[in-house]
Symmetry: C2
């Protein structure tokens, strides 16, 4: 067995080698392969990084491999690393398998030292350029490799500018920069405790190790967790000969998207800056110019860019995100990758590319991240309200945001994680702000452009972003943002429209969004492909109607407890609970009957014969009474403040009832079918209301409602047997009274672990199983959601003990095993048992795909998640096909 190869020339690789070479490296190799101009170099593999992470050292022989590839590169470029006459300069960039923009480290201009900088000046005839490159290198190396606070270098630069009266960096002369380089080396030594390394080979290896290490930095870990990227992949390191966009006015740099990433329009979309390095564009330090303006300075290169755009889109069959640099009028491509896009853009591109014949419908379906759909369906600013525009910036990521102003990422996380809506306002953002962005409703920056950090990350997260609000002065020490005479202070309400770039003061009203035609087209394809049915959770006719507009094919969960909570009903509910006898309870239940019947009537009409699963009363009865502590406090207050004996006696009676119903662990107490078993009259009333409503609706519309009655919290077959009999007895009595026939089925929630484990017994009594994954998760994990979130669960997530919140993403290894077991056992008894899921997971893509793989019949989710579930369900089919094909190969 030969030694592992850890280093590849660009010419040795191709796009399929991503796992080994990383995304960036593989694409550089691929571009090289198809004749696109790329500055040459080599790639240290992800495996080398994994080895380094585990062992803290290079694999044996790799140093020599690097040296050999460097030699080859020197030969190819005709330059030599450290050559005082004509030095080879290198860029050292991370490149992971999955894109993690800005998360890991980069070092540019490597190879410069006091000798080579002079050589560079001589070779280019541009001393200012040489020292500008040098000072950038010292700062970046000091920050990334030596761990010095970058602010210290920035301050030294500003001090120098003040000293010589330079307004902007370009006002600094070559001599100013030469002096600055010395001073920056002083800053580096002071910060790092050791001197700047002059030896370029030493620089190279230190930089490679720094990139390896940056794989495990905090922000990269956080990012991977939010994106579900495994921690054990490692990053490749791209060592590439430098080209300079900052060599003078015939040089420049830019970024572009082959289509508009915001709208999806099929138009070349990009920005450039002359005499600048790439970081200047991305970081938003200078405001870049739109691509078409390049016509004015380098029309030939613009034409070449158009050709490359065409070539790359055809080659990759997807919208590309490009980086380029022009050095002395010569164009080089530095990167290509599939571009991030907003949800509307994703739909438009998919529809257009299918129409163009570039991709198939199945590919079009796979191009859309279902999670992105969420943003499209998120509420928009109500167009009917009067809103005063406070300021305008670039509409960098669409969507509406309303929240209180915060000026710091930690604060944003602090408040946002507690469910408080915040808008993050920054001069610009950087990768250290990622946790704040995650917890904000949106982000507004005074600097930066459409491709700035804030814009790219916000689009990725589906959050609204307004970038480059130039009229806004942000003071993050004072925590204010000033726009003319208006000062936004921390805690002030701010609203934003990320599509138009408008910022508003105050708390704007939001309205639900609808589908656009591209989304409808793609969801139409999804409906043709998917096998899973998609239902909605809806408790009201209004919810039911909204969900149907999103394509819901039925109601998977209609909760009846919210109906009990309404103002005009609660007194009857409370009187029923306070009753001492069955007769008394029945009297109060009789008063509730018409209300319940009316609820179901509306829902059956809205669903027009689609299936409606109604869950009988589930929560413990004490939820309908005042809390125990409030009741006791009121009693003590009456006693201590000399209330009348009658008042005290009344409160004592209430307190006694509340106490008798109080529970140590209500989640595991008298709820669900345990109510119906102890007080059958409650469920009997509900069943009567359901069947009467169904009969009424059938009589008036001529269409039979599709009724499914669901018994909650069953753990034992006998429980369901009893409640099934009660339901049948009551329903048959109503049908006999009404002299009609209505079909109905009776099923159960599977939400108690025991029900999953004994599903072969429970299936004997059930026409369907609906997995209540919220409660099943609580019990299987022993996680009370009320007590976990904001407490230990938050701790677990923040320390990486858990990768995802199990209440958002189904815990497939734990809860999922129980679901799979229940499906298998249930169907061993009833092969056609209908199964579905009605927890919140029914609207989360990975969970929907799990449901498909596990063979469920349907998922049910909140109305706004229905489109997402339709898409995820289709993708599950396509992923299955792909896996089958692969297995067959």
């Amino acid at each position: 067995m030969g030694a592992t190869k850890y280093v590849y020339d660009f010419s040795e690789g191709n796009a399929s080698m991503k796992p080994l070479l990383g995304g960036k490296g593989a694409n550089l190799a691929e571009m090289t392969r198809i004749g696109i101009p790329v500055p040459q170099g080599f790639i240290v593999t992800t495996q080398a990084c994994v080895y380094y992470s585990a062992n803290g050292a290079y694999p044996e022989g790799m140093e020599q491999e690097i040296n050999d590839h460097l030699k080859a590169l020197e030969k190819l470029t005709g330059k030599t690393l450290g050559d005082p006459k004509n030095p080879l300069l290198l860029s050292i960039r991370s490149g992971a398998v999955f894109s993690m923009p800005g998360m890991m480290d980069t070092v540019l201009n490597l190879g410069l030292n006091d000798e080579t900088v002079a050589g560079l000046a001589a070779a280019t005839g541009n001393k200012r350029f040489a020292y500008d490159s040098y000072r950038r290198f010292i700062s970046m190396f000091g920050d990334v490799v030596m761990g010095v606070d970058p602010q210290a270098f920035e301050e030294e630069l500003w001090a120098k500018r003040d000293e010589v009266g330079a307004k902007v960096d370009t006002d600094l002369t070559a001599d100013d920069l030469e002096d600055l380089c010395d001073r920056l080396k002083g800053v580096l030594k002071a910060g790092a405790g050791e001197s700047f390394p002059n030896d370029p080979m030493k620089q190279l290896h230190l930089a490679i190790v720094a990139v390896f290490k940056s794989w495990d930095n905090h922000r990269a870990k956080v990012y991977r967790r939010t994106q579900g990227i495994p921690d054990d992949l490692g990053t490749a390191v791209n060592v590439q000969s430098m080209v300079f966009g900052n060599k003078g006015e015939t040089s420049g740099t830019g970024v572009a998207f082959t289509r508009d990433p915001s709208t999806g329009e099929n138009a070349f979309y990009g920005e450039f800056l002359m005499n600048a390095q790439g970081e200047d564009v991305v970081a938003g330090v200078r405001v870049p110019r739109p691509l078409p303006e390049m016509e004015q300075v380098q029309p030939e290169n613009l034409k070449k860019l158009y050709e490359i755009r065409e070539t790359l889109e055809k080659h990759y069959r997807d919208m590309q995100d490009l980086e380029f640099t022009i050095e002395d009028e010569k164009l080089y491509m530095l990167q290509t990758r599939n571009g991030k896009r907003t949800a509307p853009a994703a739909f438009k591109m998919a529809v257009d590319m299918v129409a163009e014949g570039l991709i198939s419908k199945d590919e079009g379906l796979m191009r859309i991240d279902p999670a992105q759909l969420d943003q499209l369906l998120h509420p928009r600013l109500d167009p009917k309200q009067e809103l005063n525009v406070l300021a305008k910036g670039l509409g960098a990521s669409p969507g509406a945001g309303v929240g209180t102003a915060v000026f710091d990422a930690d604060e944003a996380e602090e408040l946002g994680s507690k469910g408080r809506p915040v808008i993050l306002i920054r001069w610009e953002t950087n990768p250290d702000d990622i946790h704040g962005l995650m917890h904000s409703q949106g982000v507004i920056t005074s600097h930066g452009g459409m491709t700035s950090h804030a814009a790219v990350v916000a689009r990725g997260m589906g959050k609204p972003c307004i970038a480059g609000v130039q009229d806004m002065k942000v003071d993050d020490k004072a925590k204010t943002a000033t726009i003319g005479a208006v000062v936004i202070k921390e805690g002030d309400w701010v609203s934003m429209d990320g599509a138009t770039g408008r910022v508003f003061l105050g708390q704007a009203k939001l309205v639900p969004a609808g589908e656009d035609e591209n989304m409808s087209a793609v969801l139409g394809w999804a409906d043709e492909v998917r096998r899973l049915r998609v239902r909605t959770n809806a408790d009201t006719p209004e919810d039911a109607r909204v969900a149907r507009t999103f394509g819901a094919e039925g109601i998977g969960l209609c909760r009846t407890e919210h109906m009990f909570m309404q103002q005009e009903r609660l007194p009857h509910v409370q009187a029923m609970i306070m009753s001492d006898t069955t007769e008394e309870r029945e009297k109060h239940l009789a008063r509730l009957l018409p209300f319940q019947r009316e609820d179901f009537d509306g829902i059956f009409r809205a669903m027009e014969g689609l299936p409606v699963t109604i869950r009988l009363l589930d929560p413990p009865l004490h939820e309908f009474l005042p809390s125990y502590v409030d009741t006791m406090l009121e009693l003590q207050r009456l006693q201590l403040t000399g209330a009348s004996a009658a008042e005290i006696a009344k409160q004592e009676a209430l307190a006694a009832k509340v106490k008798s119903l109080a529970e140590a662990n209500p989640m595991l107490g008298t709820r669900g079918c345990r109510l119906g078993i102890q007080w059958p009259e409650i469920y009997a009333m509900q069943v009567r209301a359901i069947i009467e409503a169904a009969a009424d609706v059938m009589a008036s519309t001529g269409k039979m409602p599709h009724v499914e009655i669901m018994i909650p919290l069953v753990g034992f077959e006998q429980e369901l047997k009893l409640m099934r009999q009660l339901t049948i007895d009551t329903a048959e009595q109503v049908l006999a009274e009404r002299k009609v026939k209505i079909d109905y089925t009776i099923g159960t929630m599977i939400e108690v672990p025991r029900a999953a484990v004994t599903a072969d017994q429970i299936a004997n009594q059930a026409d369907f199983f609906s997995f209540g994954t919220n409660d099943l998760t609580q019990m299987t994990l022993a996680f009370s959601r009320d007590d976990a979130e904001g407490k230990f669960l938050t701790h677990y997530l923040s320390t990486d003990l858990l990768k995802a919140n199990p209440f958002e993403k189904l815990d497939q290894q734990g809860v999922g095993q129980l679901i799979a077991m229940a499906v298998q056992k249930g169907r061993s008894v009833k092969p056609n048992l209908k199964t579905g899921i009605c927890g919140e997971h029914g609207g989360e893509p990975t969970s929907v795909k799990f449901c498909h793989r596990t063979g469920l019949n349907y998922v049910s989710c909140s109305p706004y998640r229905v489109p997402l579930a339709r898409l995820a369900a289709a993708q599950a089919v396509l992923e299955e096909k792909a896996a089958d094909k692969k297995a067959g190969d």
Copy 2:
């Protein structure tokens, strides 16, 4: 396929046909087969009862079958049913597969009517006897078959006695009884709404149906539930020719045990009454005479009884419970069955019979019901206290009882089920009192003997019983018992010693029991046979010592939270909880360290190198603070009563902390390893205390403690991985400080369903699994024990929805499946993974046997249950062997 045979003559059956013929019938057949004198008859099978229960009618052809067998019986006896000259009279008795004494119905003297009674009088020349039989038959038939309140017949009898001035029943003349018969028929017609049926065939079939129906009466169902007897077995019906013990002074009846059922002594033990029917002995209406006194009246029959005793014990190889009747000096055996016995008797008999060569040790082990062991180990009256004996009766069932007096079974159940100790005091008990007996600490009766209902049932339940306290007058209307000048009223404390028959006034002190030599011998055999190790749950050195005297082989669960609750420690615990910083917490933890170390030191010394599993802190921290409601009430009280600002501020601070820690469902909240993960300093302190104590004990005793550290409430591998590392880091630090080496292992509780489902992952981090079946039951069933018992669980048990309390008997179908899955998955990764159970189920026989079958290494239970677990573990091995043998046959 031929028609099913539903009726068998005694001569057609044998002892192995119990499932079909019931216990009594099969034994009557067996006695017939081996030549013991038995009044002949036939048996209607249990299958007929099952058919009747389901269909409400006889199976086709069965009526004819009965008639055919009746004809054969008439031929055999030379008597004919309904023959006015020489009538055949029948007894109709239930006979289930498992003995259910007194639970179902019996009809005697069937066949009597106004004509046959005269024939009986003529044939026997004893008119008084004939009418006495007739009046008994009318009453019994009215009660059992026609559903008339038996009290009504009893009152009529008393009225007649008063009328003629008869002190006892035997004072009534033949004419008195003839008149009484007419009056009883009037009572029957008034109560039942129809006349007494004169047709003996009608009587026969009505009685058979009544016995079938009695299978499903309430008390029978309750009894079956307590005994774990399935509801679908049905009862057989024994139709047997009557013999009369009440035919005059040459007739009699009696019951006997082939050995003493109370002590186990190898001595013939019985009671008889001349001129009486069997019910007179069992019901305790007349006080019977001890068997040896039969020498004085019928020495020949006594000799025959001794011979039969010998024959039957040899034949059945177990102590027999016999019923006999002498009719005109001719001896008949009416029943034989394996006799119930007290726990001490069971041990003595097993040891004696093995010594006698009657049975093998394995058989001896199987002869003892582990549940019975419980009574033997229950506390005894402290012999050191001065006790004044109030009265003395028969020591009918041993054991000490202390409780408040109750005079009615419902009241006993009411109080007893709430955990209040009660002593049930009755004139006599009957099967309707069974629920009251179940919930009492003991029972005292003023009537009846050693074989009375109260005595038999109490022995079966392992409860103390004193029968026949003749000096005591019980008035169950007034709810008093009067003994001389002393009146015991409801609610007065009473103490009793069921072994000596002594009754005391007041609340006596109890002390723990110990093993006797027979028990030790049997447990010695058990230890040779069993594979399961038996450990104990012990939190203190004292518990540990007690458990070792009972044979505990280690501690399976040492909880550390009780150590936190002790008075001198709680302030430090509370200060630790109130701390805002890690440093502050560590300061208070340092104060707790010496206490914890001392706790572990004592336990390690007590266990002398046996394994000790210590669970790190488990309960939520708010358990160590005042309750939320109390804190808020105190705050309001301070506010409303003008307390100082400082007092209020202090209480507000406490309230804020209590509120921040309050949980909606503490069972599923921040507890177990979630404490150690968020505040590692707590677990670090505990591990330090454990290892320091182990080092101290090793240094001073030279013997290395066997330390097992257990992490509670693990649901994810990563949780255990972190806590394992914390434990190792801390332990290694202590060992380095002390410069010693102590072996320790680290394992986890499996109590969260997810842990069971993902046991193959968790096993990677665990040296052992200990199933915490209390919590695993709570979570798997969604049964909060605090909220279930006394509420829905009590409802479920009382309505038969559940057969057993899952917190007492392991729910093998639900929780058991998770345990089996966890063992299998855990061992798939670590074939030698040590597994045990430490919930309360570790001391319940069926659960212990489940643990054996599932392949666990040990069970752990409370100290007093250790012997029970040793025995059950041995029986599990023997049952497995028997099953293997059967499967191999």
